[in-house]
Protein backbone atom coordinates (compact mmCIF):
# COMPACT_ATOMS: atom_id res chain seq x y z
CA UNK A 1 0.00 0.00 0.00
CA UNK A 2 1.37 3.36 -1.00
CA UNK A 3 -0.88 5.67 0.97
CA UNK A 4 -1.21 5.11 4.70
CA UNK A 5 -3.50 6.87 7.12
CA UNK A 6 -2.23 6.66 10.69
CA UNK A 7 -5.56 5.39 12.05
CA UNK A 8 -5.39 2.45 9.66
CA UNK A 9 -1.70 1.78 10.17
CA UNK A 10 -0.86 1.10 13.76
CA UNK A 11 -2.63 4.00 15.47
CA UNK A 12 -6.25 2.85 15.35
CA UNK A 13 -8.16 4.50 18.18
CA UNK A 14 -5.19 6.58 19.24
CA UNK A 15 -6.78 9.59 20.99
CA UNK A 16 -3.94 11.81 19.81
CA UNK A 17 -5.29 11.67 16.25
CA UNK A 18 -8.67 12.99 17.35
CA UNK A 19 -6.97 15.78 19.33
CA UNK A 20 -4.94 16.75 16.26
CA UNK A 21 -8.00 16.73 14.01
CA UNK A 22 -10.02 18.79 16.49
CA UNK A 23 -7.30 21.42 16.62
CA UNK A 24 -7.42 22.10 12.88
CA UNK A 25 -9.65 24.95 11.75
CA UNK A 26 -11.53 25.04 8.46
CA UNK A 27 -11.68 28.46 6.79
CA UNK A 28 -14.23 28.48 3.95
CA UNK A 29 -13.51 30.14 0.64
CA UNK A 30 -9.79 30.74 1.19
CA UNK A 31 -7.76 31.60 -0.82
CA UNK A 32 -10.67 31.57 -3.24
CA UNK A 33 -14.36 30.71 -3.43
CA UNK A 34 -15.09 27.02 -3.05
CA UNK A 35 -11.89 26.03 -1.26
CA UNK A 36 -12.33 24.82 2.34
CA UNK A 37 -8.90 25.73 3.67
CA UNK A 38 -7.43 23.43 6.33
CA UNK A 39 -5.78 25.87 8.75
CA UNK A 40 -3.07 24.30 10.92
CA UNK A 41 -2.25 27.51 12.79
CA UNK A 42 -4.84 26.56 15.42
CA UNK A 43 -2.97 23.26 15.85
CA UNK A 44 0.19 25.26 16.60
CA UNK A 45 -1.72 27.13 19.32
CA UNK A 46 -2.59 23.83 21.04
CA UNK A 47 0.72 22.82 22.57
CA UNK A 48 -0.36 19.26 23.44
CA UNK A 49 -1.83 18.56 20.00
CA UNK A 50 1.20 20.10 18.25
CA UNK A 51 3.48 17.93 20.37
CA UNK A 52 1.41 14.82 19.53
CA UNK A 53 1.78 15.65 15.83
CA UNK A 54 5.55 15.81 16.05
CA UNK A 55 5.77 12.78 18.38
CA UNK A 56 3.83 10.54 15.99
CA UNK A 57 6.17 11.35 13.11
CA UNK A 58 9.24 11.01 15.36
CA UNK A 59 8.12 7.59 16.62
CA UNK A 60 7.62 6.46 13.04
CA UNK A 61 10.90 7.72 11.61
CA UNK A 62 13.41 7.53 14.44
CA UNK A 63 14.55 3.99 13.72
CA UNK A 64 14.45 4.22 9.93
CA UNK A 65 17.99 5.57 9.54
CA UNK A 66 16.79 8.89 8.16
CA UNK A 67 19.53 11.49 7.82
CA UNK A 68 17.52 14.18 5.99
CA UNK A 69 14.19 15.84 6.75
CA UNK A 70 13.14 18.13 3.91
CA UNK A 71 10.35 20.65 4.38
CA UNK A 72 8.56 22.79 1.83
CA UNK A 73 8.25 26.54 2.45
CA UNK A 74 6.54 27.79 4.54
CA UNK A 75 4.31 25.47 6.58
CA UNK A 76 6.72 22.57 6.09
CA UNK A 77 9.18 24.70 8.07
CA UNK A 78 6.93 24.49 11.13
CA UNK A 79 6.75 20.69 11.30
CA UNK A 80 9.99 19.51 9.67
CA UNK A 81 12.60 21.02 12.02
CA UNK A 82 11.17 19.65 15.31
CA UNK A 83 11.06 16.20 13.70
CA UNK A 84 14.63 16.55 12.37
CA UNK A 85 15.90 17.67 15.76
CA UNK A 86 14.27 14.74 17.54
CA UNK A 87 15.59 12.08 15.15
CA UNK A 88 19.05 13.63 14.74
CA UNK A 89 18.68 14.43 11.04
CA UNK A 90 19.58 17.49 8.98
CA UNK A 91 16.77 19.87 8.05
CA UNK A 92 16.75 20.98 4.41
CA UNK A 93 14.41 23.82 3.46
CA UNK A 94 12.89 23.64 -0.02
CA UNK A 95 12.03 27.17 -1.10
CA UNK A 96 10.34 29.37 -3.65
CA UNK A 97 12.72 30.84 -6.25
CA UNK A 98 15.40 33.32 -5.24
CA UNK A 99 15.04 32.85 -1.51
CA UNK A 100 18.01 30.54 -0.97
CA UNK A 101 21.41 32.24 -1.26
CA UNK A 102 24.24 30.55 -3.12
CA UNK A 103 24.04 27.71 -5.62
CA UNK A 104 20.69 25.93 -5.99
CA UNK A 105 18.95 23.36 -8.16
CA UNK A 106 15.36 24.04 -9.23
CA UNK A 107 12.37 21.88 -10.11
CA UNK A 108 9.29 23.30 -11.84
CA UNK A 109 5.85 21.88 -11.19
CA UNK A 110 2.27 22.36 -12.32
CA UNK A 111 -0.33 24.34 -10.40
CA UNK A 112 -4.04 24.37 -11.14
CA UNK A 113 -3.34 27.45 -13.25
CA UNK A 114 0.25 27.90 -14.29
CA UNK A 115 3.52 26.64 -12.87
CA UNK A 116 5.66 27.17 -9.77
CA UNK A 117 9.16 26.23 -8.84
CA UNK A 118 10.96 24.73 -5.84
CA UNK A 119 14.67 25.17 -5.08
CA UNK A 120 17.19 23.30 -2.93
CA UNK A 121 20.77 24.17 -2.07
CA UNK A 122 23.49 22.35 -3.97
CA UNK A 123 25.51 20.35 -1.45
CA UNK A 124 22.85 20.28 1.26
CA UNK A 125 22.32 16.56 0.79
CA UNK A 126 24.60 13.79 -0.42
CA UNK A 127 24.00 10.82 -2.67
CA UNK A 128 22.95 7.82 -0.64
CA UNK A 129 21.29 9.72 2.18
CA UNK A 130 17.83 8.56 3.29
CA UNK A 131 15.25 11.33 3.40
CA UNK A 132 11.68 12.09 4.35
CA UNK A 133 9.69 15.08 3.09
CA UNK A 134 7.23 16.69 5.53
CA UNK A 135 4.36 19.06 4.76
CA UNK A 136 1.15 20.20 6.44
CA UNK A 137 -1.24 19.04 3.71
CA UNK A 138 -1.16 16.90 0.59
CA UNK A 139 -3.82 17.31 -2.08
CA UNK A 140 -2.76 16.49 -5.65
CA UNK A 141 0.79 15.85 -4.50
CA UNK A 142 2.33 18.25 -7.03
CA UNK A 143 4.52 20.05 -4.51
CA UNK A 144 5.67 16.87 -2.77
CA UNK A 145 6.47 15.28 -6.14
CA UNK A 146 8.67 18.26 -7.04
CA UNK A 147 10.37 17.91 -3.66
CA UNK A 148 10.99 14.20 -4.25
CA UNK A 149 12.46 14.94 -7.69
CA UNK A 150 14.88 17.51 -6.28
CA UNK A 151 16.19 15.01 -3.75
CA UNK A 152 16.37 12.11 -6.20
CA UNK A 153 18.22 14.22 -8.76
CA UNK A 154 21.14 14.41 -6.34
CA UNK A 155 21.04 10.71 -5.50
CA UNK A 156 19.06 10.79 -2.26
CA UNK A 157 16.66 7.98 -1.44
CA UNK A 158 13.27 9.39 -0.46
CA UNK A 159 11.97 6.82 2.00
CA UNK A 160 8.55 8.39 2.61
CA UNK A 161 6.55 11.61 2.62
CA UNK A 162 4.71 12.59 5.78
CA UNK A 163 1.75 14.96 5.88
CA UNK A 164 -0.38 16.12 8.79
CA UNK A 165 -3.51 16.27 6.60
CA UNK A 166 -4.29 14.40 3.42
CA UNK A 167 -7.17 13.79 1.13
CA UNK A 168 -7.90 10.20 0.18
CA UNK A 169 -6.24 9.34 -3.11
CA UNK A 170 -8.60 9.64 -6.04
CA UNK A 171 -8.91 6.22 -7.69
CA UNK A 172 -6.61 5.81 -10.62
CA UNK A 173 -4.56 8.89 -9.83
CA UNK A 174 -1.08 7.96 -8.56
CA UNK A 175 0.35 10.65 -6.34
CA UNK A 176 4.05 10.98 -5.65
CA UNK A 177 4.95 8.48 -8.40
CA UNK A 178 4.25 5.62 -6.03
CA UNK A 179 6.40 6.82 -3.12
CA UNK A 180 4.91 5.93 0.27
CA UNK A 181 2.82 8.64 1.89
CA UNK A 182 1.93 8.67 5.59
CA UNK A 183 -0.96 10.89 6.63
CA UNK A 184 -2.10 11.67 10.16
CA UNK A 185 -5.68 12.89 9.57
CA UNK A 186 -8.20 13.55 6.82
CA UNK A 187 -9.44 17.06 6.11
CA UNK A 188 -12.15 18.39 8.40
CA UNK A 189 -15.59 19.19 7.13
CA UNK A 190 -16.93 22.62 7.99
CA UNK A 191 -19.76 21.05 10.02
CA UNK A 192 -17.28 19.33 12.33
CA UNK A 193 -15.88 22.62 13.65
Amino acid sequence: MVEMFAAENGLKGDPRLQAISNAIRVVPHFPKQGIMFQDITTLLLDHKAFKHTVDIFVDRYKDMDISVVAGVEARGFMFGPPIALAIGAKFVPLRKPRKLPGEVIAEAYELEYGRDCLEMHVGAVEAGERAIVIDDLVATGGTLTAAIRLLERVGVEVVECGSVIGLREVKGQRRLNGKPLYILVEPREIDDC
Partner: protein
Protein backbone atom coordinates in the same frame (compact mmCIF):
# COMPACT_ATOMS: atom_id res chain seq x y z
CA UNK B 1 22.77 40.45 25.56
CA UNK B 2 24.72 37.81 23.75
CA UNK B 3 25.63 34.22 24.46
CA UNK B 4 28.73 34.90 22.36
CA UNK B 5 30.07 37.11 25.08
CA UNK B 6 29.09 34.55 27.68
CA UNK B 7 31.41 32.12 25.88
CA UNK B 8 29.14 29.10 26.10
CA UNK B 9 31.19 26.31 24.51
CA UNK B 10 28.40 25.53 22.04
CA UNK B 11 28.57 28.99 20.46
CA UNK B 12 31.73 28.33 18.49
CA UNK B 13 30.17 25.35 16.73
CA UNK B 14 27.06 27.36 15.91
CA UNK B 15 28.99 30.34 14.59
CA UNK B 16 31.24 28.15 12.44
CA UNK B 17 28.22 26.56 10.76
CA UNK B 18 26.76 29.85 9.55
CA UNK B 19 27.75 30.52 5.95
CA UNK B 20 28.34 34.00 4.59
CA UNK B 21 27.19 34.45 1.00
CA UNK B 22 28.48 37.65 -0.64
CA UNK B 23 26.30 39.87 -2.80
CA UNK B 24 22.97 38.23 -1.96
CA UNK B 25 20.21 39.11 -2.66
CA UNK B 26 21.76 41.95 -4.61
CA UNK B 27 25.34 42.85 -5.37
CA UNK B 28 26.37 45.98 -3.45
CA UNK B 29 28.45 44.53 -0.75
CA UNK B 30 25.75 42.70 1.19
CA UNK B 31 27.21 39.70 3.04
CA UNK B 32 24.23 37.43 3.59
CA UNK B 33 24.27 35.37 6.79
CA UNK B 34 22.99 31.95 5.67
CA UNK B 35 21.68 29.76 8.49
CA UNK B 36 20.76 26.83 6.24
CA UNK B 37 24.23 25.34 6.76
CA UNK B 38 23.58 25.42 10.51
CA UNK B 39 20.45 23.29 9.93
CA UNK B 40 22.59 20.67 8.17
CA UNK B 41 24.54 20.02 11.37
CA UNK B 42 22.15 18.24 13.75
CA UNK B 43 24.28 18.90 16.82
CA UNK B 44 24.77 22.61 16.09
CA UNK B 45 21.07 23.03 15.25
CA UNK B 46 20.11 21.29 18.49
CA UNK B 47 22.59 23.43 20.45
CA UNK B 48 20.99 26.56 18.94
CA UNK B 49 17.51 25.54 20.04
CA UNK B 50 18.79 24.33 23.44
CA UNK B 51 20.40 27.70 24.19
CA UNK B 52 17.07 29.46 23.72
CA UNK B 53 15.11 26.76 25.57
CA UNK B 54 17.47 26.93 28.55
CA UNK B 55 16.99 30.68 28.72
CA UNK B 56 13.19 30.70 28.47
CA UNK B 57 12.06 27.48 30.17
CA UNK B 58 10.31 28.17 33.45
CA UNK B 59 9.79 31.87 32.69
CA UNK B 60 6.08 31.49 32.04
CA UNK B 61 6.31 32.29 28.34
CA UNK B 62 2.96 31.44 26.74
CA UNK B 63 3.65 32.57 23.16
CA UNK B 64 6.54 32.15 20.77
CA UNK B 65 5.93 34.32 17.69
CA UNK B 66 8.08 33.52 14.66
CA UNK B 67 8.63 35.75 11.66
CA UNK B 68 8.14 34.25 8.21
CA UNK B 69 9.95 32.29 6.97
CA UNK B 70 13.21 31.60 8.83
CA UNK B 71 11.61 32.37 12.18
CA UNK B 72 9.42 29.34 11.46
CA UNK B 73 12.49 27.10 11.47
CA UNK B 74 13.53 27.99 15.03
CA UNK B 75 10.34 29.17 16.74
CA UNK B 76 8.22 26.00 16.81
CA UNK B 77 10.99 23.84 18.26
CA UNK B 78 11.46 26.37 21.07
CA UNK B 79 7.69 26.63 21.66
CA UNK B 80 7.33 22.86 21.88
CA UNK B 81 10.12 22.56 24.46
CA UNK B 82 8.90 25.38 26.73
CA UNK B 83 5.18 24.55 26.48
CA UNK B 84 4.15 27.69 24.61
CA UNK B 85 1.85 28.34 21.65
CA UNK B 86 3.56 29.01 18.34
CA UNK B 87 2.18 31.99 16.40
CA UNK B 88 3.37 32.57 12.82
CA UNK B 89 3.73 36.21 11.73
CA UNK B 90 3.31 36.26 8.00
CA UNK B 91 3.52 38.32 4.83
CA UNK B 92 0.15 39.66 3.65
CA UNK B 93 -2.61 37.35 2.45
CA UNK B 94 -0.99 34.12 3.62
CA UNK B 95 -2.97 33.66 6.85
CA UNK B 96 -6.59 32.58 6.34
CA UNK B 97 -9.34 34.15 8.41
CA UNK B 98 -9.24 37.38 10.39
CA UNK B 99 -5.88 39.08 10.82
CA UNK B 100 -4.36 42.31 12.09
CA UNK B 101 -1.58 43.97 10.08
CA UNK B 102 1.38 46.15 10.88
CA UNK B 103 3.24 48.06 8.19
CA UNK B 104 6.94 48.78 8.41
CA UNK B 105 9.64 50.56 6.42
CA UNK B 106 12.10 48.85 4.12
CA UNK B 107 15.18 50.46 2.64
CA UNK B 108 13.00 51.26 -0.39
CA UNK B 109 9.28 51.13 0.23
CA UNK B 110 7.16 49.39 2.85
CA UNK B 111 6.19 45.85 3.81
CA UNK B 112 3.60 44.38 6.08
CA UNK B 113 3.35 41.65 8.72
CA UNK B 114 0.11 39.91 9.72
CA UNK B 115 -1.06 37.93 12.76
CA UNK B 116 -4.26 35.98 13.34
CA UNK B 117 -6.87 37.64 15.50
CA UNK B 118 -7.45 35.49 18.56
CA UNK B 119 -4.10 33.70 18.41
CA UNK B 120 -2.71 35.79 21.24
CA UNK B 121 -4.62 36.98 24.30
CA UNK B 122 -4.14 39.97 26.59
CA UNK B 123 -1.63 39.08 29.26
CA UNK B 124 0.15 36.43 27.17
CA UNK B 125 3.90 36.60 27.76
CA UNK B 126 5.59 36.47 24.36
CA UNK B 127 8.93 36.02 22.66
CA UNK B 128 9.61 37.10 19.10
CA UNK B 129 11.97 34.78 17.24
CA UNK B 130 13.81 35.29 13.96
CA UNK B 131 17.06 34.04 12.49
CA UNK B 132 18.66 37.46 12.30
CA UNK B 133 18.23 41.08 13.41
CA UNK B 134 19.57 43.72 11.02
CA UNK B 135 17.89 47.15 11.18
CA UNK B 136 15.21 45.85 13.54
CA UNK B 137 12.28 46.98 11.37
CA UNK B 138 10.66 43.56 11.11
CA UNK B 139 11.13 42.74 14.79
CA UNK B 140 9.65 46.08 15.72
CA UNK B 141 6.56 45.42 13.58
CA UNK B 142 6.25 41.98 15.18
CA UNK B 143 6.40 43.44 18.68
CA UNK B 144 3.76 46.02 17.79
CA UNK B 145 1.37 43.32 16.56
CA UNK B 146 1.69 41.47 19.84
CA UNK B 147 1.37 44.59 21.98
CA UNK B 148 -1.71 45.76 20.06
CA UNK B 149 -3.56 42.68 21.31
CA UNK B 150 -2.35 43.16 24.87
CA UNK B 151 0.51 40.68 25.02
CA UNK B 152 3.65 41.42 27.02
CA UNK B 153 6.70 41.03 24.80
CA UNK B 154 9.29 39.68 27.22
CA UNK B 155 12.24 39.49 24.80
CA UNK B 156 13.28 39.24 21.16
CA UNK B 157 15.49 36.28 20.35
CA UNK B 158 17.66 35.90 17.25
CA UNK B 159 20.43 33.55 16.23
CA UNK B 160 22.48 36.38 14.66
CA UNK B 161 22.80 40.13 15.24
CA UNK B 162 24.41 42.63 12.89
CA UNK B 163 25.33 45.17 15.58
CA UNK B 164 26.61 47.77 13.11
CA UNK B 165 23.03 48.25 11.88
CA UNK B 166 21.91 49.17 15.42
CA UNK B 167 18.68 47.17 15.27
CA UNK B 168 18.83 46.78 19.04
CA UNK B 169 18.03 50.48 19.39
CA UNK B 170 14.81 50.07 17.40
CA UNK B 171 13.17 47.79 19.91
CA UNK B 172 11.74 50.49 22.19
CA UNK B 173 13.82 49.32 25.09
CA UNK B 174 12.75 45.68 24.84
CA UNK B 175 15.59 43.25 25.53
CA UNK B 176 17.26 41.35 22.72
CA UNK B 177 19.07 38.04 23.15
CA UNK B 178 21.34 36.77 20.38
CA UNK B 179 23.71 33.85 20.07
CA UNK B 180 26.28 35.28 17.66
CA UNK B 181 27.27 38.67 16.31
CA UNK B 182 28.52 39.41 12.84
CA UNK B 183 30.35 42.57 11.87
Amino acid sequence: MSAYRDKDPRIHGIQSRIRVVPNFPKSAGIMFQDITTLLLDPKAFKDTVDLFVERYRGKNISVVAGIEARGFIFGPAIALEIGAKFVPLRKPKKLPGKVISEEYELEYGRDCLEMHLGAVEPGDRALVVDDLIATGGTLCAAMKLLERVGADVVECACVIELPDLKGREQLNGKPLYVLVESH
